[in-house]
Symmetry: C2
Subunit: 572 residues, 2 copies
């Protein structure tokens, strides 16, 4: 094979059973997405690498998970858990304990490659019912045993990490549909149901639930396939269609939680003026107040045939952003998926979606849409047929008025096709010591450029680093900014310092510390700096109310029990 045609020998094996690889791998064990040729070339150029740097894979984590961290539980306590949940639902093996603690953030993957095991629970229980959970919470509260909850395992905030040991609940059996209410277009489910199972049962409601029609959940985060409905709710997640359908907190109608202080249950009402909103005060608690055991969600009519895909190229970021804002404020309805890439991400996207080198690409150049300046907007509309069409037509008009070129629906379709697959890239990159990670925030339109430039400047201040940004969720008054950075970096300490810098700058320039990933333990040191001391004291008061013994997801979650020395309050 000539050097020019060289392709790395990307790993394509099902990871060995009980290996670290199995945990660091994204999602489906037999699914892979390798960098295409153009991305590979870009990385080599940007990182000053040669083909030789891609001849040998490193730190692949193929070894069996192996460590010696004894359980701190007494045998009496272990027995009690077996009595509550059944022996077959209680596990203490090394692999399972690690599996439910680490999520999918870069630090998790790096630790797994290094074989670093820390912060694991003493025991993993798969409760079968609300009753099991109630008994576990009551017993843990009595014995002061920490409780962590594991759903789909896609946390990128160290949300499920069992920092204080104790029990981890794997919600795998808490996955049932409790009730479909077609009159209200709502469904009540247990929190452990996965995104795909949930969407499948809704799409097939006619055959599976004896319903009159098919529904959709309207919630499709990139991690969709490996998340649970409960995870969406307790972190206030968003999906790629939230611009139209709303974030999780807009979809939740009622919830039930088990807390050490008792059961919290809200009613199924469309709106109220009965004091502060209990639902909104529970959502986002990330397991620090209690455990979600059932949730009632809005569902929507399944009308995929009505979707209109679109993509537009703008001459620059300013025009693209202004068009997005105009679209959101014009009141002609909102697009469903709606993504706007900055110049650097656009150039990478052109490679990833196979536009670079195509006739569209040359046409763009000829018309003056320049590399390193042009910005791509793509997405599709949802809703009733004529409504979806109206949104598409009106959006088209706005884009044209900002000098955009219609780059056809195909680009959006191509993006949609692969949209859940990108995380698989991380394994390949990691095999050659490359890091790809993301951080995200939300910001008002008027402060957006400040944040975009400020954070981007920090990322680019590191030599040989790719920094891509896009808007993935847009609102009347602002949007989410999503930062992706790629670099040659495989040292955990270096990575942590770098990540800290990105988070510092998100705070310094005045964005939220998260729009939909949540706070977890990773972003927690910045939370007080963002929401302020008096505001975080409210969350701490609620914590004491629900969980006076601090057994629920302790060890930094939402900065509720964070040491002063760990807090990062960045001067703005």
């Amino acid at each position: 094979m000539s050097d020019r045609n060289f392709t790395p020998n990307w790993y394509e094996e099902r990871p060995p059973k009980n290996s670290y690889r199995r945990l660091l791998k994204w999602g489906d064990l037999e699914e892979f997405k390798h960098p295409n040729k153009r991305l590979f070339t870009l990385m080599k150029e940007t990182f000053n690498l040669t083909n030789d740097d891609f001849r040998e894979r490193q730190k692949m984590g193929l070894e069996q998970v192996d460590y010696d961290i004894p359980s701190k539980l007494s045998s009496e306590q272990t027995e009690k858990f077996i009595e509550i949940a059944g022996a077959e639902n209680v596990k203490t093996d090394n692999y399972t304990r690690l599996r439910v603690s680490y999520g999918k953030t870069m630090i998790d993957l790096m630790r797994l490659r290094e074989g670093i095991v820390e912060n694991i629970p003493d025991i993993v229980i798969s409760p079968r019912s609300k009753k099991d959970i109630l008994e576990i919470v009551q017993y843990c509260n009595q014995e002061l045993i920490p409780i962590y909850v594991y759903g789909g395992g896609s946390s990128v905030t160290r949300g499920t990490e069992a920092v204080k040991g104790g029990v981890s609940l794997d919600m795998i059996y808490m996955n049932k549909v409790i009730e479909l209410n077609e009159t209200n277009q709502t469904i009540t489910v247990e929190p452990g149901i996965t995104g795909p199972d949930y969407e499948k049962i809704l799409n097939n409601a006619v055959s599976e639930l004896d319903a009159k029609r098919a529904y959709t959940c309207g919630h499709f985060p990139q991690s969709f396939e490996f998340t649970t409905v409960g995870g969406w709710v307790v972190t206030r997640g968003a999906g790629q269609n939230s611009t139209y359908y709303g974030k999780t907190e807009d979809m939740v109608v009622a919830q039930e939680y088990i807390t050490p202080s008792g059961i919290i249950k809200t009613g199924e009402f469309p709106a109220h003026s009965c004091g502060p909103d209990i639902d909104q005060l529970m959502m986002g608690n990330e397991g620090a107040y209690g455990i979600l055991v059932s949730v009632t969600m809005k569902i929507f009519r399944h009308m995929p045939k009505n979707q209109y895909h679109f993509s537009y190229m703008f001459k620059n970021w300013e025009d693209a952003k202004n068009a997005a804002r105009e679209i959101l404020q014009s009141e002609f309805g909102k697009p469903s998926a709606f993504r706007i890439s900055d110049a650097e991400e656009t150039d990478v996207a052109m490679k990833l979606y196979g536009i670079e080198g195509s006739p569209i690409s040359s046409l763009l150049s000829r018309r003056g849409y320049k590399n390193n300046e042009k910005c791509l907007m793509l997405g599709y509309t949802d809703g009733e047929k004529d409504f979806a069409k109206l949104v598409k037509n009106k959006l088209h008009k706005v884009c044209k008025s900002y000098g955009a070129m219609n780059t056809t629906p195909l680009v959006a379709m191509k993006w949609k096709q692969g949209r859940f697959k990108d995380p698989y890239l991380r394994e390949d990159l990691g095999d050659y010591g490359l890091m790809i990670d993301t951080l995200e925030c939300s910001v008002s339109w008027s402060n957006m450029e400040n944040v975009h430039t400020g954070v981007r400047n920090f990322i680019k201040s590191r030599p040989n680093t790719i920094s891509m940004t896009h808007i993935s969720h847009s609102y009347h008054q602002g949007a989410n900014l999503y930062f992706i950075f790629i670099a040659k970096m495989d040292d955990i300490k270096e990575y942590k310092e770098f990540q800290k810098g990105v988070l510092d700058n998100i705070q310094k320039f005045g964005a939220t510390m998260s729009h939909h990933h949540g706070i977890g333990k990773m972003n927690a040191p910045w939370l007080e700096g963002q929401i302020g001391k008096n505001q975080i004291e409210i969350l701490r008061t609620l914590k004491k109310h629900f969980d006076p013994n601090n057994i629920m997801n302790p060890g930094g979650t939402l900065a509720l029990d964070l040491d002063e020395k760990d807090k990062r309050i960045i001067k703005k």
Copy 2:
């Protein structure tokens, strides 16, 4: 004048200065709305009255406000308030003390007619700034002096009633625009700005705020003219266009409160996943946690020319309700004003809007739309021109499919024209011992008939009582139900018993205790029965956090300091 043409001599004088009448009168002192002939006839028929019952007005409250309730404040305390706010902004006269305590609920009006004065503050202060309020709150917290806040005075929940005496803050000077942000389409205002002043400055933003375009607030409760933005926020109010624009809690972007425990201030972000939502936890606190001193609200483009008015008559309530649900769940966009009257309200509305006796009326009869069965839907659309048109056309199609007859846009225009005027009817009715009052709730579509029939049956169980119900705000999963009842009743005790029965039945049949009026002190005894003990304990914990000495709107607000004996928990 012959008996047949008899019209009562409806009172049409500007009420005397400092009189009870001035306080019981709705809004504009020189505005009146008298029952028209058809309504007058209906009332006589329903209540078994004759013209003779309308010859002499009674309990008109024309007397000067007069009572002897000395201030419990020490002269030192009074001096301190004068020092803080300036002598010209501190009042202790009888009229002012009563003015800021009573609202506009039936019990208030009845007490004013009887000259019953109770629960008044010792002193009324009009703060000029956040600084004044901060000093007042700190001083009151130190001296344990209760604080009440008075905005527009339209509370129908005894929300502002100074049950424990102390200070009442009249927010009249806290009415400034702090900042318009056209990029975000948001405005930051002080809470005391009235609805009309707020809307006027937005409509005239080009000339008054040097803006690029005109805006609208999108919030128009029936009480619009005599409410403040702060009142909307702290009660979680709704307006007649909330089906499209959202309730207040959907419009609020950021808030600042002064509480005895410190200042609570949230940031201007479009969405977040940074833990429980502080904004949603402060909205609806009704002055029991702290005092709102500034709020940032979404605003909308002012496009009144795009509005399409519509009205439809359905053969029955079931069809009208199902059509409403279909409209809300079809995803073609939402109507702005959207009101559906039940059969009894429809019959009354036909009289009020002058349809009865018109050609439309005879056409309806001929086509089989029967009295006591047929139901009226009316409203208008808002938004971008083609969007507003699409909503109108799609809505038309749905209505037709449910057998409705198009009764022309005129009916909706007529309703809109008079929509802020109906409360004036109450003065005329009261002059002849008639009571007209309202209570409202929210409920899911699937439980709606249960609540409608259940509450209506209770109201109708009282002989000679008019019971009208409409849906005034519709959602994907349910709607608001608004009950209006009219009866010959002028005894406070009888009225209270009757009202208690309505509230009991709202709870018994499973609706919220309020959709947009709030809870105040009037609905508070039912709150625990609705949201549950564990849930109300959350609100109480927050109360202790913000206001450990219980000086903020004490005496039953939100049931936070309610005696066990006062609680009403109705078995469902």
